[in-house]
Symmetry: C2
Subunit: 427 residues, 2 copies
C-alpha cells in the first residue's frame, strides 16, 4: 500500500477510454514501482509478474533507461540451457528530489536521490514573522539554489522540489491559504519560489507540514508501512497528519488534520488563532516551556522563539535531572496530549500515533501519562490496541516528506523526468 | 467513486499473480458495475469501453445472465448495414438484499431488489435491554424469516443479509464487540442470527449503524455521491460514519467514528459509557428531550425509551409552536452540535455533515445555531465551505445501508449469487 496507489491508474485504463499516453505512463509507473518494491529482476520476470506482454515490457524498460531511472545490473543464468537473462534494477543515483520545510525561525533543506542517498541536509535561520513573505521566499530561494548546485555537482538531476508549510495549503494551486505561525495569508508560494529560484524546469509542489510528516513516517519512519497512522506535530502549533489504509487523508480541500484548535478550556490562554483555550495551548511549545516555570504562560509570538527553544532545553534539563515540579507539569501536559490522542483513537482508530517535533525531546516524560489518558478515553478499550510513540525522524519528518513527495511523483509518472540531460550551472 | 472501489481488484490482476478465478470474478464485477453505472448497452460497447476483448465480454455476460444479474432488453440498429446489436441491462428484479437495523426498542427490516425496488419496509418493537441477547436474536430471526418469505413470494432470491448494530463491530468475524445501548458484549451476531434464521445459504454481514448510515447517504441519500461526507447518528448515543474520497473510513479494526465520548464537561451528566460529560450527553436524545423540561436531566436507560420518544414529540410540538424556552434550549444543543461539527470539519475537512436520526426532527431549531458554531471553529474559515444538513433518509439510513452492503457485495463478486434457483419455502 502506498499513498499514491497505482491501482487507481492501472484500473483507469480498464474502465475509462484512456488515451495511449496515459496507458503508457501508467505502465511505466507500474514497471518502475515493481522494480522498486520487488527488487532487481529480468524483463521476463517483470512481464510474468505484471501480466504485461514481453514486447511492451522491453519497450517500457528502454524508455526508463533513457530517463535514467532503470539500468542493467548483471545477468542471471536460469539453467543449463538458454540465454542468460539480463537483470534490471531501479537506478536511483541519477535522479534526485529536494525537500524544503519553511518554519517561523528556520528553513530545512533535504536533498536525496531516488535510492534514498542523502546529498543535502541543512537548516538555515530565517525570521518569517519579522520580514515580509517575499523576503523570506528570496532567502529560501537562495538556499534552494545552493542545494540544487550541490545535487548538480553530485551528478543528480532534480525531478522536483517539495515544500512543507505549517499552515493550510491549496495543494492544487501550490498556494498557502493561511499559515498563522508564519504570518502568511494567500501566498502563491510554488509560483513565487519557482520564479525566485530561476529553475523553471524543476516543478515545485507544496503541502502542509503535518501531512508531509505523516507521509515521511509512513514511507521511512520507525512505523513505516503502518497503514493507519496519525502524526502529531509538536511545534508552536500542533496539527496532525492522518494516513488511512495507506493513503493520506486530505479531505475535500486539503485542510484536514487541524486538531489543534479544538476548544478545551473556555477560561484558558489565548491561542495564536485568536480563539481561547484551544487544545494546542495545552500541549504546544508554549505549554511545554511553561513546565519549567508553571506560572509563566506567555504565548509564543515567533520573535521570542529562540528564547522559547532555550527555555525548552531548560525544561528537558530539569525533567531529565529529576526536578519534580517540571516532571509533574509535563505529566499534566501528557494527560492533555492523551486527551487529543483519545479523540484520534475514537474517531480514526489508528494503529499508532506518532508524536513528533518537540514531543520527541520530552517523550519519556509526556507519553506515559498520555498513554493512560488515551486508553481511558478509548471507547473500544484494549481492543483498540493503539500505541503512542515518539517519532524517530525528529525535526526532519516534514522535510523528508517534502522530498518524498517528489520521489513519489517520479514513481507515479516517470515521463516527468527528462530524457535528455538538463541544462546545468547553478550558482 | 464507490466505497468498494473496483480499481483495487482490477489492478490486482495486473500487479499480483492472480489466479484465473480471481481474474474472472474481477471481470464479472467490472462488467456488472459498468452496466449499472453506464446504463444499457451492447456487448461491443462494453468491450470497447472496458478494454476487455469481445469474446471475454460475451462469456462474462453469459455467466451474468445465468446468475440472473443481466438480461437482454432489445436491439440497437447501428446503421444501415450490419447486424443489429443486442442491448444488455442489469437485471435487478430477481436478486435481492435484506437489511436489518437492531436498536434498543425496535428492529427495522428493509428488503430490496438490485434495481432498488422496495419489497419490505417494517419496524417491529423489541426490548433489547430487557431480555438477553439470545431472545432478541430469536425475535429478530422471526421477523427476518417473514421478510425472506416476502422476497420469495416476489420471486426475488436474497443474496445476503446486512445487519446494522449501534456499537463496535468486528466486521471480519461478524461479531458485536460491545453495544452499550443494547447491553451487548461479545455477541457473535452473524453466526447466531444465521443459525436462528435457518437459511445457511444466505450470508450475514454486520457493521456499525453509523458506518452503514454514512454509506446509505453516499449511495442513495440527499448527498449521494459526495465523496467527503460525515454522517452523525442522532439517537440515545451519537456516533459518526465517515466517507473519505468515496470510501468508508473504518480504521484499523473498524472502530472509527466514535465521536460521542469526547469529554467536554467534567462537571456534566453521566454518560452511558460510564464516563462523565461526554459530548453525546450534550446532544443525544436525553439532551433533546430535556429541552422540554430543562431541569430534567434523567439519562435514558432504554426501559423508559418509549417515554423518551413521547417526550421528544413534546419537544417538537413545543418548539414548532413557538415556545421560547424550548427554542432556546434547542439552540444551546445546536451550539454543542456545532462544536462537534467544527471538530469534524477541522480534522476531516468534509464537504457536508449529514445530521440523522432525531436531529432530522428538530433540524430547523438545531442547525442554525450548529452552523454558526461550526463556522466559528473552522480553522480554514469560509474556505472550508462545509454544510450541515438534515438527513433525508430519516430513521431508515442504517437499514438502507445494511441492504446496500449486500448489493455492493453482489456487484463486487457476482459469483456469490447462485446460478441455480435456491431452495425455497420460508415459513
Amino acid at each position: 500500500l502506498t499513498p499514491s496507489d497505482p491501482s487507481l491508474r492501472a484500473s483507469s485504463r480498464l474502465i475509462e477510454p484512456a488515451d495511449q499516453a496515459t496507458v503508457r505512463r501508467n505502465n511505466l509507473s507500474l514497471v518502475l514501482r515493481h522494480l522498486r518494491d520487488q527488487g532487481p529482476r529480468s524483463r521476463a520476470d517483470i512481464a510474468a509478474e505484471t501480466q504485461l506482454n514481453k514486447a511492451t515490457v522491453s519497450s517500457l524498460v528502454a524508455e526508463l533507461e533513457q530517463r535514467g531511472l532503470v539500468r542493467e545490473t548483471g545477468v542471471k543464468h536460469a539453467g543449463s540451457v538458454g540465454r542468460p537473462a539480463r537483470i534490471l534494477r531501479l537506478d536511483g543515483a541519477r535522479v534526485g528530489a529536494l525537500g524544503l520545510a519553511i518554519n517561523v525561525d528556520y528553513v530545512a533543506v533535504y536533498g536525496t536521490d531516488l535510492s534514498g542517498r542523502v546529498l543535502v541536509e541543512r537548516r538555515h535561520a530565517v525570521d518569517a514573522l519579522g520580514v515580509p513573505p517575499a523576503q523570506t521566499i528570496a532567502t529560501v530561494a537562495g538556499h534552494t539554489r545552493a542545494a540544487l548546485a550541490d545535487l548538480d555537482r553530485a551528478g543528480v538531476t532534480p525531478a522536483g522540489i517539495g515544500v512543507a508549510i505549517p499552515g493550510l495549503v491549496d495543494v492544487g494551486q501550490g498556494g498557502v491559504v493561511v499559515a498563522p505561525n508564519l504570518g502568511w495569508r494567500d501566498v502563491p508560494i510554488a509560483e513565487r519560489l519557482s520564479t525566485a529560484i530561476v529553475a523553471p524546469h524543476v516543478p515545485v509542489q507544496v503541502d502542509n507540514d503535518a501531512n508531509l510528516s505523516a507521509l515521511a513516517e509512513f514511507w521511512v519512519g520507525g512505523q513505516a508501512g503502518t497503514p493507519n497512522l496519525v502524526y502529531l506535530t509538536g511545534e508552536v502549533g500542533v496539527g496532525s497528519g492522518v494516513i488511512v489504509e495507506g493513503r493520506l487523508l486530505r479531505g475535500a480541500a486539503g485542510f484536514s488534520g487541524e486538531i489543534g484548535h479544538l476548544p478545551v478550556d473556555p477560561g484558558g490562554t489565548r491561542c495564536g488563532c485568536g480563539r481561547t483555550g484551544c487544545w494546542e495551548t495545552k500541549v504546544g511549545l508554549a505549554a511545554l516551556v511553561g513546565a519549567a516555570a508553571p506560572g509563566d504562560t506567555r504565548s509564543p509570538d515567533g520573535r521570542s522563539l529562540r528564547d522559547l527553544e532555550d527555555r525548552l532545553a531548560e525544561v528537558v534539563r530539569l525533567a531529565d535531572g529529576g526536578d519534580q515540579g517540571a516532571r509533574d507539569a509535563l505529566a499534566g501536559i501528557g494527560r492533555w496530549l492523551g486527551y487529543g490522542a483519545g479523540l484520534l483513537v475514537n474517531l480514526l482508530n489508528p494503529q499508532v500515533i506518532v508524536a513528533g517535533g518537540c514531543f520527541t525531546l520530552l517523550a519519556g516524560h509526556l507519553l506515559p501519562a498520555a498513554r493512560l489518558e488515551m486508553d481511558r478515553l478509548a471507547v473500544a478499550g484494549a481492543a483498540t490496541g493503539c500505541r503512542i510513540v515518539p517519532s524517530e525522524l525528529g525535526f526532519t519528518a516534514a522535510v523528508r516528506g517534502a522530498a518524498g513527495l517528489v520521489v513519489e511523483s517520479v514513481l507515479d509518472d516517470p515521463t516527468a523526468v527528462s530524457q535528455v540531460p538538463l541544462l546545468r550551472g547553478y550558482p
